[in-house]
């Protein structure tokens, strides 16, 4: 199965960065997290997080259940605010702007930063309407343009061939893996810069998981991807850099190869060798 040929999207090379002083091989920092702390009421869930995430890279976040992975990734698009009683200190700069600042418009942020969830969560609508949802709520109404966007997004998510004849069917008729790729297509439709993924394959079978992993490798050429995963092999397979978290703290953050082959911290080593939890 060759996902790359299925996926007929032509990729434009993105080299027109305005910051020309930067060495072209040096990637821009997309997210710069400084001294981030987060509390769910009394529960101190994130402790003094410092991380830099770079453009067009896949950053994986691993760690045992309950260590704060989902909390952190949901802070990056401020979805964590939907939980009442959340408070934060510190800052997260997204392309230079502190997103934790009250003046930040969360709708704008979330338009630039897409999210794919653990359990596939398509809307109870047709496949077409699922993908067209984002463009529509952001004011794109022309049918021809929407058709165009839907096709491109579904191609981008490597599912076009499977669903092109049933665009008007309810997305719930698809398999879990297909639903998740429709959710990715839905996310691509508004052309975000960053895609956040919270254990996107944990509810899927191995074959669907493989397809999505292939897709993530494709997508990374155009998007910055931050992915939480419960699966260390997956992190090793698809990510450029890996964060290991424990009890709300970042224990280690380095190149993926480095982290898995030569962990600096004893706790990281214990975790990746399975001597842990």
């Amino acid at each position: 199965m060759n996902m790359a040929t299925d996926n007929k999207v032509q990729i434009e090379v993105s080299n027109d960065h305005t910051t020309t002083e930067n060495n072209t091989t040096q990637k821009r920092v997309v997210y710069d997290t400084k001294n981030l702390n987060l509390w769910y009421s009394e529960n101190h869930a994130l402790k003094d997080i410092n991380l830099e995430m770079k453009e067009n890279e896949v950053t994986a976040i691993i760690g045992p259940s309950g260590c704060g992975k989902s909390t952190y990734i949901k802070t990056l698009n401020r979805m964590v605010e939907l939980v009442p009683g959340v408070s934060t200190t510190g800052s997260i700069a997204y392309k230079g702007n502190n997103i934790l600042d009250k003046s930040m418009n969360v709708e704008d942020l979330r338009t630039r930063v897409g999210m794919v969830f653990q359990k596939p969560n398509p809307f109870p609508k047709s496949i077409y309407e699922n993908v067209a949802y984002g463009p529509k709520i952001h004011g794109i109404k022309k049918k021809a343009l929407l058709d165009d966007i839907v096709e491109k997004s579904l191609r981008g998510a490597a599912i076009w061939d499977e669903v092109k004849d049933r665009l008007n069917e309810n997305a719930y008729g698809l398999s879990g893996g297909q639903q998740q790729r429709v959710c990715i297509a839905r996310c691509l439709a508004i052309e975000p810069d960053v895609i956040l993924m919270d254990e996107p394959t944990s509810a899927l079978d191995p074959i669907s998981t493989l397809k999505i992993e292939e897709l993530i490798k494709e997508l990374k050429q155009n998007y910055t991807i931050i992915i939480v995963t419960h699966n260390m092999q997956q992190a090793a397979r698809i990510s450029d850099r890996t964060v290991f978290m424990l009890n709300g703290e970042v224990v280690e953050f380095s190149e993926t190869d480095q982290l898995f082959s030569n962990p600096k911290d004893k706790r990281t080593e214990d975790y990746i060798t399975g001597r842990f939890g």
């Binding site: 999207v9 032509q10 434009e12 027109d16 305005t18 794109i140 998007y223």
Partner: protein
């Protein structure tokens, strides 16, 4: 903020730029986000206005009544002669009719409702329960006017054929029919209370060799007691406020009597009679409507609050 300008697709149109453009227009979305909660709040406050409207209507008009009829005379008077030359406005005959009809209803619905609840919660199989419960609910969905018709044209003649002293309009027949109407209420609320008794309690008793009957009576019912009480209180409140059955089948006699073969008027039936007749607005008769309605309202409100209080205590038990 520098938006990145390259499209992700090889396309004439750049979607992310288009979206950024649209956002600059500060579309109607921004207004909607502020306007909608305000409108919804206004809609939600209509229910509060309804309560205020009810209280204001009843109290402001009843005040006129109590300026002409002393409040003590109203609540202690056994004579209700609103249309006579020297009108008398004692509410006791109406209270009497209301209490009688509700008592008869609860005497019918109480035992039958509880026994149904016991059957549904302790004995019936899932399959049987799933058939019987909705059927029982149908009883609660029949309009009260239909029950009124049934009481007047069927139950009363039936009673009179057995017990000829019973009059054509009497309190007994509507009381019984009202009881049938509130069976589902007692049955389903009591069943809820019994079902939520933890199974462990039941099993503990059954394991000691007691029969299901003994377990139900000695263990389940005591544990569910406050829930059952709450269902009774709610059902009585419902019976007190019920109008059409008593209006049709119990007539409009305002005698202060304890004889259930006779016609008695309830508070609700009095309101129907007076408002339906040609009571001139502004007359004492007209205002008496509101004094009676205020009393009725107070009765049912107290019963409902009491039921809530009892069932809240009941929820604390587990």
């Amino acid at each position: 903020m520098a938006t990145n300008s390259e499209s992700k697709f090889n396309s004439a149109v750049n979607v992310s730029e288009l979206i950024a453009e649209n956002k600059k227009k500060k579309s109607i979305n921004n207004y909607m986000e502020k306007l909608v909660p305000a409108i919804l709040f206004l809609l939600a406050s209509i229910t509060v206005l309804t309560t205020i409207g009810i209280l204001y209507t009843l109290i402001s008009q009843a005040v006129h009544f109590f300026m002409e009829v002393p409040i003590l005379d109203f609540f202690t008077g056994t004579e209700l002669k609103p249309l006579s030359q020297n009108p008398e406005f004692g509410i006791l005959p109406l209270l009497n009719g209301t209490i009688f009809s509700s008592l008869i209803a609860i005497l019918v619905a109480g035992p039958i409702g509880i026994m149904s609840a016991i059957y549904l919660s302790e004995y019936a199989s899932d399959k049987v329960r799933r058939i019987l419960k909705p059927l029982l609910e149908v009883l609660a969905g029949i309009p009260t006017i239909v029950y009124g018709f049934f009481a007047f044209t069927f139950v009363t003649p039936l009673i009179r054929s057995i017990w000829p002293q019973v009059e054509a309009t009497n309190i007994l027949s509507p009381g019984i029919v009202m009881g049938v109407m509130i069976i589902p209420m007692i049955a389903s609320l009591s069943e809820d209370a019994m079902t939520s008794v933890p199974n462990g309690i039941r099993e503990g008793s059954l394991a000691m060799g007691t029969t299901k009957l003994e377990t139900t009576i000695k263990v389940v019912i005591p544990a569910a007691f406050s829930g059952i009480m709450a269902s009774f209180v709610l059902a009585i409140s419902r019976a007190i406020g019920e109008t059409m059955i008593v209006t049709i089948a119990s007539g409009s006699s305002k005698n202060f009597t304890f004889d259930l073969t006779q016609s008695m008027q309830t508070m609700t039936a009095y309101i129907v009679e007076v408002s339906g007749g040609e009571a001139p607005a502004g007359s004492t008769l007209y205002y008496s409507l509101y004094a009676v309605a205020l009393t009725l309202f107070a009765f049912t409100l107290i019963m409902n609050l009491l039921a809530k209080y009892i069932s809240r205590k009941f929820r604390e038990e587990y």
